[in-house]
Amino acid sequence: MTFHRMQNSDATRLPSPSQEARTYRRLRATILKTIFCELCASARLRLALALLMSLGIWVSLFFIMHEGFSFLEREAGAFTQETVEKVFNIFYASLMIMLFFSSTIIFYGGMYRSQEVAFLITTPTSPSRIFNYKFLEAVVLSSWGFVLIGSPMMIAYGVVVGAPWYYYLLLPPMIIAFVYIPTCLGAIACLLVVHWLSRFRRPVVALMGFSIFACGLWLLWTIFLRQQNELLTPEWFEETMIRLSATENRLLPSWWLCSGLLEAARHGGTSLDYQPWAQALLFLSLLVSNALALQMVATWIADTFFLTSYSRLQTEHGNPRIAKVQWIDHLLPGMLPFVPAPIRILLAKDIRTVRRDPLQWAQFLIFFGLVGLYFLNIQSIQNATPFVGWLNLVSFLNLLVVGLILSTFTTRFVFPMISLEGQRFWILGLLPIERDTILWGKFLFSAIVTGIPSSLLILLSDALLQIPPVIIFIHELACLLLCTGLAAIAVGLGACMPDLRATSPSKIAAGFGGTLNLILSALYIIVIVGLTAAPSHLHAITQLGQLSDALDPNSTRIWMTIGVGAAVVIGVGTTTISLRRGFRAFSKMEFS
């Protein structure tokens, strides 16, 4: 058999592109079906909660958008169309940029860092098929948030302007075609960067990060700081729109989408020269043709470069990670000389583990950084709102926000700690320490690590809002109760409902135990903040002479004391009960 004949006969035995595509579709469908059936069978609460919350967010956004567009229709009159066009252009242009970056990152993780792709490469699958398989994944993962936010907005707009039926029909293909474009560009950027700049990918990523940060700063500066006019006035709005007019560039896909949708929402005239639906179809075809062309380019690039770039990336020799003990590892244990030595040792171990995993603390840092930025801007509320009652309310809302962030932190990082210890329990299990000590270590770690930044943030918020010292004291007390209570719930539940087989903390947090932890934490936060906020708000109002007919300022002070007392009782009770249950479950736990 000659070489060419062998080659041809082998090629015919390989699955055709359509067979290959069918195989991958079947694979994805089977996996999704299994996951869905599993969720229905064993995680109904989580599934129901996720669906309900998504629906709740969607409906809330729809009503907010509906109200907004109705307001514009009423107030702006003839300017509605122009204003909406500008706002839509800015919205879609921003989304396009975000989609580009998020899809680049998701695509990189899926294509170059997944075990699945390493397996697929060893099979006779073509690189372009692997690309298309992973590309679709990146499209869905990077754009579901956009669909969740964008669809209620566009439907609300259609309802308010009384858009014809084909507007709703054109909406899905337009959004899908639009999403494809930045995702394709992200995939192309990723493939090319890895192929040509794999040695410099860290500087490239740093540059991308810096670019995003610089864009954000520029936007903030343009919208808020560079303004000649007072904030949130019609003049300010007009000036901002002018400054961001670059988003109306006709070469941008966001402009095509925006124009297509606005045309589709218009009612057809009698003139044959101009029919809005035809214009909308024109923009749709522009979006679709560009999306398909870009996907073809991306597929060709993947076919040509992927295997080489994959190999290049895998064989790059990373610098060995030399880890040293830092002063910060000993700071916290050193501050607690009264705590038994084994707990301090475990505390130091947990701090070191978290410190060396930037993925963990970076999320926390970003959350708290954003809250900090918001608090720094809070002074404008103080200046704009002379009513003390509102300031008091805002200060408690800030406490609520900090509490909710803490609950996500404890669910994501503290709750899985016990489950993760299961994998290496032979180390801790052989140590000459009580099992309770391990839980005490986790509890102290969580309470202190969350307590310090939270109390400082609350103090910052209160100082900027010029809150009276008594309320500051209540806030700090509530913050302490939140930190200890949330830490105890996470540690206790983590010990009661461990998932000793899981290795990924995110998977543990996303399980039933994690969901329950999040719900209980949210309830606890609402109770603690509600008990401290409601009486103190009434007290603040009566201090100003309002509601004095119904409430006596002295009685509100008593109510405030009762509220704080009840919060302390509930906080201490929750902490004690959660820990006790955790200790009991942990002492009975069997590790394989």
Partner: protein
């Protein structure tokens, strides 16, 4: 047949495989030995197309894997030391996926799946999700999947790790049987006894360089240690400096063995 021609591959500044020349004939069971980090897995990854060499080429049944990756891979099956399985597929669904990937038709696929299910005694758990499998069960499934399309070349990386004695016997018999029936078997292992027991030839790699290729008898001759064990000879070879590598008859033949003995 697998032909490695002047293969070199570096990880940054570190050379993992250095000018490797090796030919493994059809029907031969070749055991690839070497200390940790010697370059075994890199060589295997190059052979299956996961990595591309800096220099040289690998030919699979005459096809250059870099130039004709799909056609070459159609003829290979690869069993890695830590195989990837889809957690949310059952064993049977995974086998079906592999059948489809290798273009097996609607009749041959299920028939061959049934054969492999029986051979590897998978029937008790083949309809359960693979996430519930133990390491041994996973390894058996991966072997079953690897043999579905009747590959001409079987490449296995550390096949015995984590297997119970019965499964080890099964795998050893299987590899020998495949080689006897004409399949080229390229196996990397740390278990010297296995290499000695079932290997037709052994190759010893150290710091990226081939130190020896040949039969155990040839190794004994080259080391002038007729009574020595493979373990002792392996340690001597891999502990000796680069310059003291023995010039074996196999090396002179560029590590080629065109016919099966």
């Amino acid at each position: 047949m697998i032909e490695f021609e002047h293969i070199s591959r570096s990880y940054g500044d570190r050379v993992a495989v250095d000018d490797l020349n090796l030919t493994i004939a059809p029907g031969e069971l070749f055991a690839f030995l070497g200390p940790n980090g010697a370059g075994k897995t890199t060589t295997i990854k190059i052979a299956v197309g996961l990595l591309q060499p800096n220099l040289g080429s690998v030919r699979i049944c005459g096809f250059d894997i870099a130039k004709h990756p799909r056609i070459a891979k159609r003829r290979i099956s690869y069993v890695p030391d830590e195989p990837h399985l889809y957690d949310k597929l059952t064993g049977r669904e995974f086998l079906q996926f592999i059948s489809d990937m290798y273009g097996m038709d609607a009749k041959a696929g299920p028939k061959e799946q049934a054969v492999q299910i029986e051979r590897f005694e998978l029937s008790d758990f083949v309809d359960e999700l693979t996430e519930t499998y133990s390491h041994g069960m996973k390894q058996r499934l991966v072997f079953a999947a690897a043999l579905l399309h009747r590959p001409e070349i079987l490449i296995v990386d550390e096949p015995m790790v984590g297997l119970d004695p019965k499964s080890i016997r099964l795998v050893k018999d299987l590899l020998r049987e495949k080689a006897d029936s004409g399949t080229t078997v390229f196996m990397s292992t740390h278990t010297l006894a296995v290499a000695e027991e079932i290997g037709d030839r052994i190759g010893i790699i150290d710091r990226g360089k081939i130190k020896f290729v040949g039969t155990i008898e040839e190794l004994k001759k080259s080391q002038a240690q007729q009574q020595s064990t493979l373990e002792r000879m392996f340690l001597e070879l891999t502990e000796s400096g680069e310059d003291s590598a023995p010039a074996t008859s196999s090396e002179r033949e560029r590590h080629t063995r065109p016919e099966k003995h």
